[in-house]
């Protein structure tokens, strides 16, 4: 209960911080009108939007509507922000999901291999190559991928989600069409590369530790085959931290999807957010921040509870 209250306060502070900082990002009015619009008209618009009110007043107004899930109307699109977000959420979630899958499916086997064969040159190549991947900025990796796979080889699309299918009234998915799946490949790799490296290294480190434990030594002594020992016993032990971290990284993925979405013109929340920053679309920026704050807070909350459930020592300590 106290945790919940704290979470609420965190959200409030995020909103307040965001709000006070936004006014310095630029002047929304210039982005909303043509360049020839007179100063008087600009001033009138500013007044109508309530931008001349003191920050606390604006903030109170914002919170008052936000608790009713009304985040105002986007300055650019002249549409309710909540509608816009609902339309964009599926794109971001699917991209995040695909990149997480990529990170796990590639990262775990590589990590296991590198952990079991610590001295082999293949593991060293894995480690180094994965580092090269993260030592280049995301936007650069994205552009390079587009350059090779879209422009030169023409295998994969360079932008967008491809053909999407509507499920229910508000979810759209690219998982059900060939073009949708193809469109997912490059952005997921770009976004997932960092997480893949992270997971691989984590698994490797865990593996290195686990295979030295008495438990594994005992299993081996019992004469169980290597493969069984590695996958049944060792891997299982390494997965717990990996799962927690994947959960936490999901939040990070969503936050860092902004750049990937911008490079690939992926119609998700991150793209909308960066465009909002460029155009000083305050309602979208605030809603996005509140949404990510909510995401982080709830993930942290869940992870804390998980820790509590997994690690009995913590339970005793609290009691």
């Amino acid at each position: 209960m106290r945790r919940l209250l704290q979470a609420m306060i965190v959200m409030l502070v995020v909103a307040l911080l965001a709000f006070t900082l936004f006014r310095f990002v630029g002047d929304p009015i210039n982005q909303m009108v043509g360049i020839e619009t007179s100063i008087e008209e600009r001033e009138a618009l500013r007044e109508r939007l309530g931008l001349n009110d003191p920050i606390p007043v604006q903030f109170a107004r914002f919170i008052q509507s936000a608790v009713q899930f009304d985040f105002g109307t986007s300055y650019q699109f002249r549409q309710p922000v909540s509608d816009l977000f609902l339309k964009r959420i599926p794109a971001t979630l699917e991209l995040s999901f695909a990149s997480a899958v990529f990170a796990l499916v590639v990262g775990i086997p590589m990590g296991i291999y590198a952990g079991l064969n610590r001295e082999s040159w293949v593991s060293k190549v894995f480690l180094s190559v994965s580092l090269v991947g993260i030592s280049l900025p995301t936007f650069f990796i994205g552009i390079l991928l587009i350059f090779f796979f879209s422009v030169n080889l023409q295998w994969l699309p360079s932008f967008g989600r491809g053909e999407v299918v509507e499920i229910g009234s508000w979810w759209t998915t690219g998982f059900l069409t060939a073009s949708g799946l193809k469109a997912l490949i490059l952005p997921s790799i770009t976004l997932g590369l960092y997480q893949m490296t992270l997971i691989m290294r984590l698994i490797r480190a865990e593996m290195l530790e686990v295979i030295r434990t008495d438990y594994i030594k005992f299993a081996r002594a019992r004469g169980l085959p290597d493969r069984l020992v590695h996958f049944r016993h060792a891997l299982k032990n390494t997965l717990v931290p990996v799962i927690t971290i994947t959960g936490l990284q999901l939040g990070a993925i969503i936050a860092f999807a902004t750049i990937t979405e911008t490079v690939f013109q992926w119609p998700g929340m991150g793209l909308m957010f960066l465009q909002a920053v460029q155009n000083v679309d305050i309602p979208i920026m605030s809603a996005y921040l509140l949404l990510t704050a909510f995401l982080f807070v709830s993930i942290n909350f869940v992870v804390d509870i998980l820790y509590f459930l997994i690690d009995p020592r913590l339970r005793i300590e609290r009691a």
Partner: protein
């Protein structure tokens, strides 16, 4: 747009072996988004251009930008203050409604209503009189020879449709409920807007009931905004799109070398120029204290002459620019050819600076956008390097447009000493330049609101007022020449160039590249 059943039908059509082979859909991308569909919400080239395929004005502009009749068949000035427009008969809106004088009168009110960004299209004091169903009179408070110059982008809306959908008030950002007209369109133009997902995709469909003979062969058009330059070019090179614009000047060659695509280049109307704060007694951002060096015409001229515009053209713009001697494109002013740039001459510039009392130069900050004009930041960097050679140290402040404009425009208190800006006169006429960029202003921006440097000469202003009401073209051009000559002699600004247009087009697509950078679907054919 892409619901399940649509997808299934599309698949079936595909399986049946292209029965719809005639169906030509054009897919194109632009760097910015089409935010909303209300034709009076944003006075901006791309938005108006994109909406101009669905909506039409009383006039329109052809491929060469000449004004031609559209919803009005012809017009005449029956008294100096009274213009009569004869409307085209038998025109239908996309929803089947008839186009009549009522719609024109309604649109004239709506475009001047609160929240409209196109209020300047019609003088607030002008009145609209309906003579009969197909004749409308505009009664003006004074003569205005350029009344209809911007009417190609004053689109006529359907009165009944707008009223029925409760969209009479112009879509404004302060609205709390979405305006119907912001999400739907009902014009008379050659294309209907079938679906619009702001910032994601807009789909147009051919309108069969269009009044004019279609010269295009498109059944539909799909627009996607792609913000990243590299991605946009990649989408064209990979064959995913039929047309993208703009393409960065450095990629023109690549697009041309690529099999299946070519770059279309041409001059644009926008003039890029530098301005200097000549108003304050001391510059905000300079090491010169107690006086303002830019108040001295010799300093302004020295800056002018230290810029090697040909080098900028060759290296930064890759020859895709036209060095400018005037603040207006030569296409928009008949006598532009009489003007010449001050020659590039760093030694003369140094001498001028020394004469003005700055033999060792001085330091000044320069404000520059980095995502607004073609290679804006690179131009500023090149200017900074060129000024460094005559001893002037430029501290370059390049920032995204949202911040840049917030700083340098009136709302930011003209917070700049030296800046780069671009301007296209909306009316394609010099008066617009004199009014907005060269006219005197006060500190709050009354007067020449975009004269950021605050250049001021009462003679130029007097000429400007004469130009507005002068109906004789020749006399008018002479007055304009006089005004420009004064401004040039006093180096009110440093014009740099008209930037070039660069569009990337897939082979088989024919189109007209208009110098106002509007992409007009009715000129397109695709094979």
């Amino acid at each position: 747009m892409s619901n399940k059943s649509f997808f299934v039908t599309a698949l079936m059509l595909g399986c049946m072996g292209g029965t719809a082979a005639q169906a030509e859909t054009l897919k194109y991308a632009f760097q910015g988004t089409l935010n909303q569909l209300d034709p009076y919400s944003l006075n901006e080239t791309f938005t108006l251009g994109a909406l101009g395929n669905a909506y039409e004005g009383l006039t329109r502009r052809g491929a060469d930008l000449q004004i031609e009749p559209a919803l009005a068949e012809r017009w005449e000035v029956i008294e100096p203050n009274r213009w009569r427009f004869y409307l085209r008969q038998g025109v239908k809106f996309h929803n089947g409604n008839d186009f009549t004088a009522e719609d024109v009168a309604f649109s004239a009110e709506r475009v001047r209503a609160e929240g409209s960004d196109l209020g300047t299209r019609i003088n607030a004091e002008a009145t609209v009189e309906i003579v009969d169903d197909y004749t409308v009179d505009f009664v003006l408070p004074g003569p205005n020879p350029i009344l209809h110059y911007e009417w190609d982008t004053w689109y006529i809306m359907d009165k009944d449709w707008t009223e029925a959908n409760d969209a009479v008030s112009v879509t404004s950002a302060s609205d709390t409920t979405p305006n119907y007209a912001a999400l739907n369109a009902n014009g008379t133009g050659p294309f209907k807007i079938a679906s619009h997902e702001p910032g994601v995709k807009t789909v147009y469909e051919k309108f069969d009931g269009w009044w004019d003979t279609a010269t295009h062969n498109l059944d539909g058009v799909e627009f996607t905004p792609i913000g990243s330059d590299a991605t946009r070019v990649a989408a064209l090179l990979s064959g995913e799109l039929d047309m993208v614009y703009p393409i960065p000047v450095q990629d023109v060659k690549r697009v041309n070398d690529n099999a299946g695509t070519q770059a279309l280049t041409g001059p644009e109307l926008r003039t890029i120029f530098l301005g200097m704060d000549q108003m304050r007694d001391e510059l905000l951002y300079s090491d010169v204290k107690g006086k303002n060096p830019f108040k001295d015409v010799r300093v302004r001229k020295a800056f002018y002459q230290s810029i090697d515009i040909e080098a900028i053209k060759a290296k930064v713009m890759r020859d895709l620019s036209t060095p400018a001697a005037l603040m207006i494109s030569p296409f928009l002013y008949a006598r532009a050819g009489e003007f010449e740039r001050y020659p590039y001459d760093p030694d003369a510039a140094k001498a001028l600076l020394a004469e003005a009392g700055y033999p060792d130069g001085f330091t000044v900050s320069m404000d520059c956008p980095n995502d607004r004009y073609v290679n804006d930041e690179a131009i500023c960097q090149a200017v900074a390097a060129m000024l460094a050679r005559v001893g002037v140290t430029v501290d370059l402040v390049a920032q995204p447009k949202a911040k840049y404009f917030a700083k340098v425009l009136a709302s930011g208190g003209y917070d700049t000493s030296f800046y780069l800006l671009g301007w296209t006169p909306g009316s394609f006429d010099s008066w617009n330049i004199l009014e907005n960029l060269i006219q005197c202003r006060d500190e709050a921006g009354k007067g020449g609101a975009f004269n950021l440097g605050g250049y001021c000469n009462a003679d130029v202003d007097a000429l400007k007022d004469q130009i507005l009401v002068e109906n004789d073209p020749e006399k008018r051009d002479a007055l304009i020449a006089q005004a420009y000559t004064i401004a040039n002699d006093e180096v009110s600004h440093i014009p740099l160039h008209q930037q070039g247009l660069a569009w990337g087009v897939a082979d088989g697509v024919e189109l007209a590249q208009r110098a106002d950078n509007q992409f007009v679907f009715r000129f397109v054919t695709k094979n």
